[in-house]
């Protein structure tokens, strides 16, 4: 306890005898009030610690804005990281192509299906090396791309439940069983289909005015989605079948202005990308706000009107920094 003694030494009168001084030191150092204060300080520090740890650990490791070989991006929409091959795929919407990068983020190649691929907005890959891409001239198709087999074809979802508006696929996610999760921006729902395009189920919330704009799946199969207009995160529990939600729109640090994309880190923190705030809000799964990450701007490490967030198993955070026409990759804390 040297600090405590030092802090309180002025309480000891200079006229005190040596014995009295020792006795006072003893009392001061053993004072429950001081212990209390000490523990309160420790408690506050321990609460703040994760914030500092996480934010301090975030390092920009790559900023991909194109070069002479691959050209510049044009309004990229989404990314997917292939954990097996360690490759990054980018849906470069405005250039009507998919672009691949190696694990050091060097450009490998581009794919446009011989000019047949239009407006790719989302991409995932299953364990059978098949890509699924949302796109098409009317932005209403789901494509299967099997490069070894040279297959590029639209997938018609069989036995889909018809709703008020035509099906308009938007964002994609894939689970460990290769099931696809597709947000339907036409009807505010998530469709779950297998790799053959067979409809399995639909996920929606009771309020029919809720838009579900993005989707991610954690390792336990729980489904995370986001309503931009409501400013709310929805978590559909895989085992219990229950739905929980948190968040609201506003201007405070823990509120959303215009949330557009969601990602789950390996340690199951929920990352929400806010397009208009120009930052990422991090929550625990129970909705407990942790901290804000990144800031609005144009320089390296800053983001402007971003559109998509993705986190790989190594806790690398990929931000589609659309307003700056680039992909920025950060290493999150391990």
């Amino acid at each position: 306890m040297p600090q405590i003694l030092t802090m309180n030494k002025n309480l000891i009168n200079h006229r005190d005898t040596e014995a009295q001084r020792k006795n006072k030191f003893k009392k001061i150092s053993a004072s429950p009030c001081l212990y209390g204060k000490f523990f309160i300080i420790l408690l506050i520090l321990s609460c703040l610690a994760p914030t500092y740890l996480f934010s301090a650990d975030l390092n920009l490791i790559a900023s991909l804005s194109g070069d002479k070989i691959m050209g510049k991006f044009n309004q990229p929409s989404a990314v997917f990281f292939d954990e097996l091959k360690k490759r990054l795929y980018v849906a470069d919407t405005g250039n009507n192509r998919l672009v691949s990068f190696d694990h050091e983020f060097n450009f490998i190649s581009e794919f446009d299906a011989g000019g047949k691929l239009k407006y790719p907005t989302s991409i995932v890959k299953n364990s059978k090396e098949q890509f699924f891409v949302v796109g098409g001239t009317a932005r209403d198709e789901l494509f299967l791309i099997d490069i070894p087999k040279k297959i590029f074809k639209p997938i018609k979802i069989k036995n889909i439940i018809a709703r008020e508006n035509p099906f308009l696929p938007d964002n994609l996610a894939i689970d460990k069983d290769d099931n696809l999760y597709i947000t339907d921006r036409g009807n505010g729902r998530i469709l779950v289909v297998d790799s053959n395009g067979r409809f399995l189920k639909e996920i929606a919330v009771e309020n029919k005015f809720v838009d579900l704009t993005d989707v991610q799946i954690d390792t336990e199969g729980n489904i995370y989605s986001l309503s931009t207009l409501e400013g709310k995160v929805y978590i559909f529990n895989n085992k219990e079948g229950s739905v929980s939600s948190f968040g609201k729109r506003g201007s405070r640090a823990n509120e959303f202005e215009f949330p557009v994309s969601i990602a789950i880190s390996p340690n199951r923190f929920v990352y929400v990308l806010d397009k208009h705030k120009g930052n990422v809000l991090v929550f625990k799964k129970d909705g407990n706000f942790q901290f804000n990450m990144l800031k609005k701007g144009w320089g390296n490490g800053e983001i402007y009107e971003p559109s998509y967030i993705y986190i790989d198993k190594g806790n690398k955070i990929y931000i589609v920094d659309r307003g700056n026409n680039r992909i920025q990759i950060f290493q999150g804390g391990k």
Partner: protein, 414 residues
């Protein structure tokens, strides 16, 4: 001798003091001074007008601190909270229903009420509807040739709740219930005038302007073409059918039956289809009639800012000192359905400020811009939007950053 002289002077002083101190008690009745002794003008008003209860009872200190205050008029608290110390929300939730009148929400009671006395009921500053017209321009409410009889009489509070309401527009009841309190909606004449459709439960203000209009029956200015031709069957079942109001198709398909080309306007990189389980066209448009362009449900900026709440907050913030003059005309720069350009812009970023040749000159003499001038921060082509924020800014010329500090230094490191 000296002592006698001292005693005499002392005695005289005592006598003198006792005479001075006892003199007033002979002429003036002793009483505490009241506020009205110094504020006689208030006394006159109270006696002539309907007074606020504490004023009538002389209980000035219920609102004022007689000694000192941090608030104007020696008020005990600021206007935002003072009135609510006594006028707490009653059980009817007069102040706290879903839609709250702006002055009530902001605690600005004195916009409508006098604090001390008034010749009008409820201490209102003016008579009846005249109070409402203080803020709500008579010219816009009674813009048409014909006005609703209650509007003409200034009886706003027959339909509207002045403090708060569960209904949009602060109306006292749901739209159909409100109108049917006076209009006999089940009578044949009424049904016949609606092409035989039973509209008694419908939202009347979907087609009629409840205040005034240039059209007969207070119909709104622009009528959806099929409705103007009384061809309701374009969208609804026949009036003689079992379910006459039912739509012939679901969702956006109904609209695309006729508006085929409009569908194409959504098929862009940035598409404004807003996913929910209603006909998403109706998020912005009114299918029957409207006083706004393109049959928009409300005025354009109101339609856009209904969802873009954060944009509304930003552009109305006190710190947003400099605003683009067309800020409330969103479609001047943005394409509402969809666009292949960033931020739903009608043209590419670099050309956006020169739509309709708005900023033709600036493009000639400004900082170099164009495809060959690259922003070193993000490797994007520089254009007007690189430095200016057309959505509003705290800096002159709508600059994104302080021109005397970091704006230039972002790229030009000194």
């Amino acid at each position: 001798m000296k002592n006698l002289y001292k005693y005499s002077i002392f005695t005289l002083i005592i006598i003198g003091l006792s005479i001075t101190s006892s003199e007033p008690s002979r002429d003036v009745e002793t009483r505490e001074k009241t506020c009205l002794d110094c504020h006689p003008e208030l006394q006159k008003k109270i006696s002539e007008e309907k007074a606020h209860a504490p004023v009538r009872d002389g209980n000035c200190i219920s609102c004022h601190n007689p000694h000192a205050s941090n608030h104007k008029g020696l008020l005990k608290n600021n206007e935002m909270t003072l009135c609510y110390t006594c006028h707490k929300d009653d059980k009817s939730g007069d102040f706290s229903q879903a839609i709250i009148h702006d002055p009530v929400r902001d605690g600005k009671c004195l916009i409508c009420h006098n604090s001390h006395s008034s010749t009008n009921d409820k201490l209102l500053i003016k008579k009846g509807g005249e109070v409402c017209l203080t803020c709500h321009s008579k010219d816009s409410i009674m813009a048409g040739k014909e006005s609703h009889p209650l509007v003409k009489k200034g009886q706003c509070i027959t339909c509207h709740a002045p403090h708060s309401s569960a209904n949009e527009g602060l109306i006292k009841k749901g739209n159909a219930d409100l109108c049917s309190s006076c209009h006999r909606v089940k009578e044949k004449l009424f049904i016949d005038s609606h092409s035989g459709y039973p509209v008694e439960g419908a939202n009347c203000s979907s087609c009629h302007n409840p205040h005034s209009s240039n059209s007969k029956s207070l119909l709104k200015a622009s009528i959806h073409q099929p409705m103007a031709k009384n061809d309701c069957k374009t969208c609804h079942n026949d009036s003689n059918s079992k379910d006459p109001l039912k739509l012939i198709s679901n969702g956006t398909i109904l609209c695309y039956n006729c508006h085929i080309n409009t569908k194409k306007s959504f098929e862009k990189i940035n598409s404004h289809v807003i996913g929910n389980r209603e006909n998403s066209c109706l998020n912005c448009h009114n299918p029957h009639a409207s006083d706004a362009k393109y049959l928009l449900d409300k005025r354009e900026e109101k339609v856009c800012l209904k969802c873009h709440q954060d944009t509304k907050r930003r552009i109305t913030a006190k710190s947003t000192l400099f605003k683009h003059p067309k800020l409330e005309n969103c479609s001047a720069c943005h394409s509402a359905h969809g666009s292949d350009n960033t931020s739903f812009l009608k043209t590419k970023e670099g050309e956006s400020c020169n739509i309709e040749k708005c900023h033709e000159q600036q493009q000639i003499f400004s900082h170099p811009v164009g495809p060959d001038i690259i922003d070193p921060r993000n490797k994007k082509e520089m254009n007007c939007i690189t430095c200016h924020n057309p959505m509003g800014s705290g800096y002159k010329y709508n600059l994104r950053l302080d021109p005397d500090k970091e704006l230039c230094e972002q790229c030009h490191r000194f």
